[in-house]
Symmetry: C2
Subunit: 471 residues, 2 copies
């Protein structure tokens, strides 16, 4: 593709995206295609000769769009927001254009140093402890997801507990890790991957607000030690996926310090809220954690993938994940004066992901980010108030931030029907969970362009469908 | 950022990239900054108020560019090519703009179905076996890197060998995996991550061409079985990182079938060459492998990250990596009629990466891709010929494709000096390895815009610096 062609087609793609955002509310939020419908419109085999770019771009409109569930719609309230923004998209575009590999400092120093600096910026922005700074004993790194961050944390905990024996000899079936019954499934997956085993991940019971019971954790650790097992890792969550429950990190951290267990704090969606001082209660106790992560690709206007993972003491992480074959040796690495992020993650290769994060922080500024987060929380609180004031509904859990878990007091069947009616209408999209064994709808507010009018309309539609259901 | 502002700034970023490619040869290929130099030009903390986009983009030029090692330069011959192209950059831009999550089919059906279709396209394109097709027992998925593909393959092998016992109970120190002394370090890392342990990864000796000795593999498996260990996995490489050595996959596959071991074939860089029938000897024996990967983000004009990972029987992989918490349950998943790629990888979240791959294949067409690959191989063979015909040099390994391993016959010191002189000149960038214990330079040809004149100039510079060194 010539420079001239790239310029022309690049402008066309930018325009397509701008137009897409302008008309995004005209699409049903949840795609309506049936399994196989998109594939059936694609050729059976690749073209022998190249095709014109106009034709390719035209197929986005014709073939791809009907199969898109519109995560960037202001009417998207499902799962978690994966909110993007103009500066993020353009920062990521520059990353694609530069096309550098950041596996080592020397393979593109700016890729490593910008990442270190921006992750250091975020430490005071979120009220995180100073030892998470790269200038202290710790440091931050961008992972693809909170799943990978949890895996890296679990591995570092595993290695610290075995004095790096399991890296050399493998696991021996005696390691135990802990989370709660509400912890994200990625921790169970990490326990499988790391050779610890799902049955050796103890899912500690939770209290009435779905937060981990520290006394139950302490009891279980004692039971395991008595049985000759080796406790190595605890995952606490600040804002669980199901209900936004906040585990008591300070109390859990005390236990972990006493028992010498690695404490990882997963704040994937909610950590971003700590940009606002009034929500910084979220991070109470995090100063005693060994690692922490939050995802700008969830609620901080930065397109996937961008999970910020911090450790209090980088040497355990690096020793756990380090490899140095001859073909990666270089003076800068051997000097010890640089960070090689390949030793902070599972894969070797890495993209210049800090560019988009840098663009977002600079475009919005701290105050701009705070403004949008406060508005999202305010809208969610308003929605929770409407639920509270309608006798047909109940809140299924406290709503401390931007997630409202609610349900009709008419049983699972009614709630399932309500959700299906709302989602199939295309007007909005929300998903469910189970709390106390009951089907519960999750209204998660955090899309970049969600405004009061969207949330009001969502509630109006909930009421409308409820009236139809209960008629 | 308003739609109008996005349009204007988006055009500016596209133009910046087009201009960057036009002047890329004017920069020293290897960045010349010292550790800390980029960071020292960045503010100590994030701005309170938002900044103008012009200012942010201006800093790319002023602050970031000096710290870039130009992987997209036609004079980049280091490590492996990470070649990008216009259609890849624009496909990825669309992925950022759509901002969808492809963790489940239902979270954006087009994201899953396009990926399945494009990965099916590649099966006949590369002469891969039909059971790698999604319509058969297998299927393909895009991973971030060959490291992650190797980890997933190792986990599936681990689980198959233990009848899924280790996923539940953890590893027990008895599992053994195999690779060669020349296998990429990611397999050692995977063995650590998976709880198998680096000491339980047997690095089998290689022949004079740095390819695994199957008889040595067979012998080691017998020794391990006798010792009560449980062999579970072999990684064969088609084009090793150090020297492009090609392990005898057919013979290794026979042993794996007899011993019931999972065979993974890593063709990260070289697999792309199989687009040309004359290089398809690479895939001899792959029809008996359990899994296979190659990286379009290395040599197929698709920007990072894009590793294509295939399995012969998807049920083992899915059972190994599957999780299904309540909040991810949905009708499509429960119907069994769709693929949920979250069960084919470590992380949960995933980007719409097949867009860029689709764009590349359609833009170039099969014939266009073949044309460029043949040219890269032709240029490498020409370079190898020059080395062969100059008595001061020797080829350190066969050069079957696009990588030429060569050295001066004057010892490690001279080769180190030659490499440093070339790289510090900024005219080109190449890296080293050790083969037979000797420092060896690696000339890897595969950048999108590398032409005969660049390779000729590279050789002229090698001769020039050699003359200076040996004067």
């Amino acid at each position: 593709m010539s420079a001239e062609e790239f310029r022309r087609q690049g402008h066309a793609v930018i325009d397509w995206i701008a137009d897409y955002f302008a008309r995004i509310e005209s699409f049903p939020v949840l795609s309506r295609v049936r399994p196989g419908e998109i594939r059936s419109q694609l050729p059976q085999s690749a073209p022998r000769a190249g095709e014109a770019f106009e034709q390719i771009l035209g197929d986005i409109e014709r073939v791809i769009l009907p199969g898109i569930t519109h995560w960037q719609s202001p009417n998207f309230y499902a799962y978690f927001p994966a909110n993007a923004s103009g500066p993020a998209i353009l920062g990521d575009l520059l990353s694609s254009g530069l096309g550098v590999q950041g596996m080592l400092w020397s393979t593109s120093p700016a890729c490593t140093e910008l990442e270190t600096q921006v992750l250091d910026w975020l430490v005071p922005m979120l009220g995180l402890p100073e030892h998470f700074l790269s200038s202290s004993t710790g440091g931050g790194v961008i992972q693809d997801s909170a799943s990978s961050a949890a895996l890296c944390a679990l591995l570092a905990g595993r290695e610290r507990a075995t004095q790096f024996h399991s890296n050399r000899h493998g696991c021996d079936g005696k390691l135990v890790a802990y989370c709660s019954t509400q912890t994200h499934s990625s921790v169970e997956k990490a326990a499988k991957v790391a050779g610890i085993g799902a049955l050796n991940l103890r899912q500690i019971e939770v209290d009435a607000n779905f937060a981990m019971r520290p006394e139950a954790l302490e009891r279980q650790i004692a039971v395991d030690r008595k049985a000759g097992m080796i406790p190595c890792f605890v995952c606490a969550t600040v804002g669980t996926t199901s209900s936004n429950a906040i585990d008591p990190v300070r109390e859990i951290a005390r236990i972990c310090r006493e028992q010498d267990l690695w404490l990882h704090v997963d704040a994937a969606m909610c950590g971003t809220a700590a940009l606002c001082p009034e929500f910084r209660f979220l991070h109470d106790g995090v100063e005693s954690a060994d690692s922490y992560c939050f995802n700008p690709h969830k609620w901080m206007f930065t397109n996937f993938d961008c999970d910020c993972f911090y450790v209090a003491d980088r040497k355990h992480l690096i020793r756990t994940l380090s490899v140095l074959p001859e073909y990666l040796r270089n003076q800068a690495t051997l000097s010890g004066a640089v960070i090689d992020y390949r030793d902070w993650q599972i894969p070797l290769g890495r993209r210049f992901r800090s560019l988009k994060l840098w663009f977002v922080i600079r475009h919005y500024g701290i105050e701009g980010l705070q403004h949008h987060l406060r508005e999202h929380v305010r809208l969610a609180q308003e929605f929770a108030g409407w639920v509270r004031n309608d006798a047909r509904f109940e809140l299924a859990a406290p709503a401390p931030l931007n997630l409202v878990c609610f349900r009709l007091r008419h049983g699972d069947g009614a709630n399932q029907k309500l959700m299906e009616a709302l989602n199939s209408s295309g007007d909005l999209y929300l998903t469910h969970t189970k709390l106390d064994g009951k089907l519960t709808l999750r209204m998660c507010i955090g899309q970049t362009n969600t405004e009061a009018r969207h949330v009001q309309e969502a509630w109006r539609r909930v009421l409308e469908e409820t009236a139809r259901l209960t008629a």
